[in-house]
């Protein structure tokens, strides 16, 4: 495998890892292991949640570099695990470039859960967390329906390219309006448990965990990046729900 193929494959693997929600430590570790497997321990790797640069030198000391800019997250921890397995395979077997590219293609086309299952999971999560925070079964039913609304809205917003902050504001605002409307019509006496249960689906769990793990490994730029993301999403949730409730609470 020559240097151009190596940098190309490394950049693609890194892009997929970052896109599917791996922490930056894992990306740098994986890529440096792959480079070492092909006798390029001098490889320079720079990874943040938004971009990736790799440079290796060939036998005439000519640098060969490749870079990727990453936008848009698509959390898929199953594929992160599969890429992890692939990197173990690369390090032990040192296969040719074509084999790796074929396996990467297989991972990219791995089945995800069908939309029906994902919608059901949003319904179940909304209901279960409404009960978890002390709601009644009827409130849990409405909490589940609000979870469906959140998933529907975030798919639509992702299609037009909205940021995570805007997504959080719009979804939590819509959910709060609906919850207040449901309790105003008179199905259930209170609306707070439904809002809490349904908006748990938007809580920045992935960002918070990744930011802690980035700080531990000393990637402060990536840590601050993801921490800012987590805080902004939390603020967005509060702004959305707060403005909706404040608008209605006067009546």
């Amino acid at each position: 495998m020559n240097e151009i193929q190596l940098t190309g494959i490394c950049a693609e693997i890194a892009r997929l890892l970052i896109k599917y929600g791996a922490e930056i430590y894992r990306v740098e570790d994986t890529i440096s292991r792959i480079c070492r497997a092909y006798d390029h321990s001098e490889a320079e790797i720079y990874a943040t949640p938004a971009n990736f640069i790799i440079t290796v030198k060939d036998k005439n000391n000519v640098p060969c570099t490749d870079s990727k800019s990453i936008s848009g997250r698509d959390t898929n921890l199953d594929r992160v695990g599969k890429i992890n397995e692939l990197s173990r395979f690369i390090c032990s077997e040192k296969p040719e470039a074509e084999i790796i590219l074929k396996k990467l293609e297989l991972i990219k086309n791995r089945k995800t859960y069908s939309p029906a299952v994902i919608y059901t999971s949003y319904f179940v999560a909304g209901g279960a967390f409404t009960m978890f925070f002390g709601g009644t079964p009827l409130e849990a039913l409405f909490g589940g329906i609000l979870g469906l609304v959140i998933h529907f809205l975030s798919i639509k917003l992702k299609k037009v390219g909205a940021s995570a902050f805007l997504n959080a504001v719009v979804c939590s605002m819509a959910v709060s309006f609906l919850a207040v409307a449901i309790s105003y019509i008179g199905f259930v006496p209170r609306f707070d448990k439904m809002i809490i249960g349904a908006t748990m689906a938007l809580a920045p769990g992935v960002a918070l965990t990744n930011c802690m793990r980035d700080f531990i490994s000393g990637d402060f730029i990536s840590g601050i990046y993801t921490l800012t993301e987590a805080l902004l999403i939390a603020v967005g949730l509060a702004v959305g729900a707060g403005s909706a409730v404040a608008a209605v609470i006067r009546f």
Binding site: T75, A125, I196, A201, T209, N210, R213, V245
Partner: protein
């Protein structure tokens, strides 16, 4: 005290809710069950500690540390990324309710309540993060030490076998 209401039901709901979250993150079935068991671990330890009059912050710190340890062990056993278990396991500890009531106090103009609850919510979020931080850095340190020891043993073996042909691979 009602054991069903205080312990079993919250554990059950956090298990179901976290399994649903795991589906949203596309975790496969085998890992999904293990990850959701992590959420039971965190919820159970949290409830047991808060019954024994530990403070809110202490409860969250200890149960986050327990989940982090659980995730590291499961990741080692299943050869999967730690994140897969950790992200799902800490969801029951997220202070969603407190943050909501803090926001509610803010929009109704009750600043004293807002400050109290916001400080609580931030404290809990921070203690969860610190619990993960403590365990994960201890594990990282342990791994680094072990790798160093392995490299040293490898070197010693090589020099030994160079000088002495009778040393066989062990």
């Amino acid at each position: 005290m009602d054991i069903t209401k205080e312990i079993i039901l919250p554990c059950l709901f956090s298990f179901i809710g976290c399994a649903a979250f795991g589906v949203q993150y596309n975790i496969r079935f085998r890992h999904l069950i293990a990850a959701s068991v992590g959420s039971i671990v965190s919820q159970l330890i949290y409830t047991l500690l808060s019954m024994n009059e530990f403070g809110e912050i202490q409860c969250c710190f200890i149960s986050a540390a327990a989940v982090a340890l659980f995730s590291e062990i499961m990741a080692k056993l299943n050869k999967a990324p730690v994140n897969m278990y950790l992200i799902v396991g800490i969801i029951p500890l997220v202070p969603g309710g407190l943050a909501y009531y803090a926001m509610l106090a803010l929009v109704t103009g009750d600043n004293a309540t807002f400050l109290e609850r916001a400080v609580d919510a931030f404290g809990i979020a921070g203690s969860v993060a610190m619990g993960i931080f403590a365990v994960s850095s201890a594990v990282r340190l342990f791994k680094d030490f072990r790798r160093q020891a392995k490299i040293k043993a490898d070197k010693a073996y090589r020099t030994l076998s160079k000088n002495d042909k009778s040393v066989k691979k062990f």
